[in-house]
């Protein structure tokens, strides 16, 4: 199954690089959330279900929400 993990790693790095270069900030924030989600899958494959759950609940969900709230309050959320 290592080819699936390699594919997810490659996808994760591509999404991270795209989040750096995309122009719209809302898209960048959502892409960072997608990176968190893919990292959560990788944690599960490494045998760390606790860490995967924490990353999914806190990293992918709460961090994205906090970013979107900050985007809205500074007027960049178009």
């Amino acid at each position: 199954m290592i080819w699936l993990d390699a594919l997810v790693c490659l996808l994760m790095v591509v999404v991270a690089v795209t989040a750096t270069t995309v122009r719209n900030l809302v898209s960048a924030v959502i892409m960072v959330g997608v990176v968190s989600l893919l990292v959560s899958y990788l944690f599960l494959r490494m045998g760390a279900p606790d860490v995967a759950m924490t990353e999914a609940a806190i990293g992918a969900a709460l961090t994205t929400v906090i970013f979107l709230i900050a985007l809205r309050r500074t007027g960049e959320g178009r």
Binding site: P49, D50, M53, T54, A61, L62, I69
Partner: protein
Amino acid sequence: MTRTVVTLIALVAIAGLFFVLLGLGTPDELGTVSRHYVERGIAENRAANLVTSVVVNYRGLDTLGEVTVLFLSVTGAAFVLRRRERKPVDAKASRASEIVQTGARVLVAPIMLFGAYIFVHGHLTPGGGFQGGAVVASGVLLLLLADRERELPHGLMSWLESLSGFAFVVAGLAGLWVAGSFLANRGVLPLGEWNRLLSAGIIPVIYILIGLKVGSELAALLDVMMRGEAVAGGPSGDRHRGGGKRHGGGTSRRAGKKRTKGGRR
């Protein structure tokens, strides 16, 4: 331009360092300390989740520090954006759609129950206080999104958070009193049988306290970030409403343009 070039050179150097580190690879065997935690974990703690026994018992002081850091960051955020008065909410802009309102009414109770399940069973299944607290905070976020004028009970949340943190320290002191070391697991509560709900001594109690504390803390953080207004100390308080006219002392400043060097108040 030199900034970009220097940054790129630094990044290339760091990439080279990483390449060297990648050649070392990852270890193949458990270290000495980890071997002790793994082999003696169930005999000493009776918690089926070894990560829980490491987080709460063997490295319990780190968890106390983590709870403190989270508390400090939420307090700092609430201090910067504290609410002075309720901002008058625009009635048309604040109605959530019908789906969100109905869905929130249906879903909030199962989400809270799920969060409570996660942190009560932290010693048996993957999970624990932090994950359960985050899920509970997500449930509160759903409530906030469905009804923009809902006021969260800040007094209750503040009391819950403070009492949970205090009870965590009291549990550690109880371990000190009974067994001789802070946050010890021997002797305060019976260890019980492995893989049952009422087992593992004081670990489930501590995780329940952490879950309540983190849940109320993150919910308060979300509420402060969504609704908090900076207490006006000058021209900032009227930026959203006035659009140009401002009162309060200080030098005049023009938004967005370069300001003159010096001449600060």
